[in-house]
């Protein structure tokens, strides 16, 4: 035990010694961005000295050269040795692909559910949590696939809401947050227990729903929601097929597996349409992009309640809290712009026009100096990575990418 402590102190000292001087002189920044309609991933390099950025490398990804496989979510392993990519389309399931950083060689793949999207690895468990967005499927509950990133095997699929998106994990690695876009809910997953801890309705007149152990169809939460809809009459809006809840079989069509009975249930028309969740690095707060309500929603995870709502630009889609927890950067998908919020005041301190329409993802450099925004573009025009200097809140570079730039992740910051 004593030895272990000594190692920890020594390790911390060495890391401090190594990293602090590097940070003060770092000038080269690297991000990976996926071009969803090009089946490419680009490694973007920004020279922090000249503010000039370019594509350092392009990696072809996918399975079929003559089908658009749709790389969507991307993230980096905790040690930076690998990057992981969700491939949204398949026959019918998508997959997770693992690449070696630096060489960018494909290491392994594993099948996931329908339209897998955003993901992150827990600092507590070392496991990867990826949401099966099921973007184009029936309006049915989907899953979060939990993957061992070494074995590249799915350990379990945790049942969640309809069209889950925005998988982000607390700094201590113990809680994963994502949103259920079509039920206006925030989900909290216990990363070690591999279960849903609780859900929270993000609607303005929401009821608090905590202490929930399992989000199964016949759960208390569903029943309450159902009763609520029946009472306020919202069920009448949802008599069409889209709102019939059935069990999603994403990734589970295995002989002999028990499946739920496919209970049909009405859901209210989503108001918030949340698309992303990101926990604060130090405080018990989670921020959610209200894509349908044009707002950023702050949730206090101790109170398990919405504490603030910030008016945002049109259709915020992804967001990221800076590593020092001071600001929040949100992509405004609906207006091709980026919003920058001061988290203390909750005010949008800057809105930066993007180089083209359909702003998608956000990644902030580890020194909080730059925000990298992926912008999809429309039709045949290239996508882009727009780079904003967070000291001036001005766009300082644009790198054109393959079509429909989407998933984006900051890789590293190094001295030249």
């Amino acid at each position: 035990m004593k030895n272990h402590k000594l190692f920890s102190i020594l390790l911390s000292a060495i890391l401090f010694f190594l990293l602090v001087p590097s940070a003060s002189f770092s000038q080269d920044y690297y991000v990976y961005v996926a071009a969803e309609s090009e089946d490419e991933v680009h490694l973007i390099h920004l020279d922090g000295k000249t503010n000039k950025a370019k594509i350092a490398k392009t990696i072809q990804v996918g399975r079929y050269p003559t089908e658009t496989d749709g790389p969507h979510g991307i993230n980096i392993s905790l040690d930076g040795e690998y990057w992981f990519l969700s491939i949204a389309h398949g026959n019918p399931y998508g997959m997770l692909a693992k690449y070696k950083t630096g060489t960018d060689e494909l290491v392994a793949t594993t099948d996931l559910g329908m339209f897998p999207a955003s993901m992150e690895i827990s600092k507590s468990t070392g496991l990867l949590y990826v949401v099966n967005f099921n973007l184009h499927g029936d309006m049915v509950p989907s899953t979060v696939s939990v993957v061992d990133p070494d074995y590249m095997e799915v350990i379990t699929d945790i049942k969640t809401g309809i069209m889950p998106h925005g998988s982000r994990i607390t700094d201590d690695g113990t809680k994963q947050y994502h949103v259920s876009m079509m039920t206006d809910e925030l989900y909290e997953i216990n990363t070690a227990g591999l279960n849903v801890n609780r859900t929270l309705s993000l609607k303005k007149n929401a009821m608090k729903m905590d202490g929930m152990e399992d989000h199964s169809d016949d759960s208390k939460e569903h029943k309450e929601n159902h009763e609520k809809h029946m009472k306020d009459g919202t069920h009448e809006e949802h008599s069409n097929k889209e709102n019939e809840m059935k069990e999603d079989h994403s990734g589970h069509d295995m002989d002999g597996m028990k499946k739920d009975s496919g209970m049909k249930m009405m859901h209210a028309k989503p108001e918030v349409k949340p698309t992303w969740a990101d926990p604060h690095p130090t405080k018990p707060l989670v921020y959610v992009a209200g894509n349908g309500s044009d707002e950023i929603i702050e949730i206090d995870t101790e109170k398990w309640a919405v504490t603030r709502r910030f008016k945002s630009g049109k259709a915020p889609y992804n967001l990221e809290v800076s590593h020092d927890g001071k600001i929040l950067v949100a992509s405004y998908k609906g207006e091709g712009a980026t919003g920058i919020f001061d988290l203390e005041s909750g005010k949008e301190i800057a809105k930066v026009k993007n180089s083209r329409k359909v702003t998608h993802g956000v990644a902030i450099s580890s020194d909080n100096r730059y925000a990298f925004l992926s912008v999809e573009g429309i039709g045949g025009e290239p996508g882009s990575v727009d780079i904003i200097d967070l000291r001036t809140n001005e766009r300082i570079a644009v790198v054109e990418t393959g079509k429909q730039a989407g998933g984006i992740v900051f890789w590293k910051q190094v001295a030249p």
């Binding site: 379990t156 295995m254 039709g379 079509k403």
Partner: protein, 670 residues
Amino acid sequence: MKKINSITKLVGIAVLTVVLLAVNSKAQDKKIVFDTEMLSLKLNEETKISAKVVDADGNTTQDSLVFFTRNRRSLIVTPDGNVKAIQSGKFSIIARTLTANRADRISATLAVDVAYPPVKSVTFLNAPENFYNTTTISLETKVVDEAGVTRDNVDVKLSSSNPDVASIDAFGNLKAHKKGSFTITAKAENKSATWKFKVSENPIASMDISHNYDGKTIRTGDVVTFEAIAKTSKGDAVKDAPIKYTYIAEPDDNLGQGASAQIAQSGKFVASDPGLFTIVATSGDKSTTTTIKAVPRNVQRPLTLVGKGIVSHTRTSDLWVWEGVDGRDYALTGTWGGNGEAIFWDVTDPSKITPIDTVVVDARTVNDVKVSEDGKVAVITREGASDRKNGIIILDVTNPRDVKIHSEYTQDLTGGVHNTFIYDNHVYAVNNGRKYDIINIDDPKNPKTVGVFELDTPSHSIHDVWIQDGIAYSSNWSDGIVAVDIGSNASADLPGAGGSPENPVQLGSYAYPSGWNHAAFPFKSESTGDFYVLGGDEAFPYGLNTEGANRAAGWIHFVKFDDWDSPAEVARYQVPEAGTHNYWVEGDILYVAMYNGGLRVVDISGELMGDLYDQGREIASFYPSDSEAYIPNATFTWGPQPYKGYIFLSDWNSGIWALKLGESTSQGTN
């Protein structure tokens, strides 16, 4: 200063390495111990496993564990150790510690043996009424286990009670040696079946053989049906005499020639190479032979380039050629991975293919294009729309020089429409890779969905649909070809089942092991009247080549449907080093796009058997490429359409092409 920094960093890294190694070795001192050394389960049995982490001293640590398996289709394993066996076989379960650092992580594997259910029964399938001395028959057995599954992985031991009378080998070949009684026992595990029988006197005194090409020229690829008849000394036919067929080949080319023909035990024979073939029919100790000569098929015809419309700014996808309401001829091509364009061409003079209009929609790929039979309405598919709603665009093409948009339709089609077909004022839109929606376009400005067809098989997916005589033939990857009655009419080759667009009714299906079924095309052979559905593959089994040109694989499967319940795959067309994409049949000629293998024109007349490529049935080939193309000087052919004596084709790299198939200068087809 920089130098000092470098030195200190190197020292730091060295120390860090030592520390990490120490931590790692600490982790390696631990190990995971399962509560059992091996797990043995019965099928469908459930159990709970546990494991613990112990340190070098054997003390249990507080590390958390999760369990999982790499055999998810065979075992259900929950992270906390609940296990259910859903398939028999040998598998494994992995336990690993939950740690962030890879160096701290340890794992262990537990072997799992899921026993097959015991054999319930073994039965003989083809015991004959008579077994004549000196003859040989093939005995077949069937093994069923207690789960009701027919098993082919059980060792069936066959033995004869009297080998001097009748002996049997490990493959089920039962040979009669002399008159007498015997019993054959088939034993599988602890179940057995017996067949008591006798060898009777062989009445066969002689054999005759004939075939259905008597007096006719036999070409390579022609399926010749031989019929051998065993006769008594009085000349009566012994109808139940077992007859085996084989052949001796003397091909014209003996320069390292490989197998040059094949023969089925039904007596059907086809030569791949020209030469002499002696067919041998035997029954017991009697045999007969006949020799035939197969000549080269000589179906090659000249294929001439007539015109081309080069698309140099994007990839080209599918095409459709039709006669416009003004009597001129037009073509519509889609684009792939571009700006959502559909390009209209005047092809009245195929030597002057001229672009006349372009419709641009919010999409990256317009994968498929179709035009209604009356030439007034077109449908183009959308994928990669910026609002992710995709769907279809219905166009007014009465004036292809000034195409108008009737409507955009996205309801339930947001997953992207990959392929489509227009039939009887309905659009069949294959979408989300899972289903096709049936959309009424009586009023093309106000389309409405009236029906949906979706399989309910596990992991089902779909790629394309083609409709003929009110029957939809969809291609469904691992679920294969699926025929659905959506309003079958009297012209249909096989009976319908009262389906309609509002009520599509499945008629039959045929799947094959590779799961590569990408296209389906029905055709009735003009020369034989046989009804086939061609299943076309799309496959890239060598993976995505990130360094150069991709290499496709797959072939055309000829599936003969005599009825909906008993389809039989009888032939294939497989080009080595290339793979199939879209294709079309007209007048007993197959036109098939082979990606890097260009266009192939294939004679599919007459009865079909074996690999048509080997039989010299290829009439012509063409490799479109152009220096001005989007991908210059490279062939990647997408799809053909024969039209008014020309062959139009789209090429992914280069655009639209028109070819003319010349007249044969030799023997021609049937």
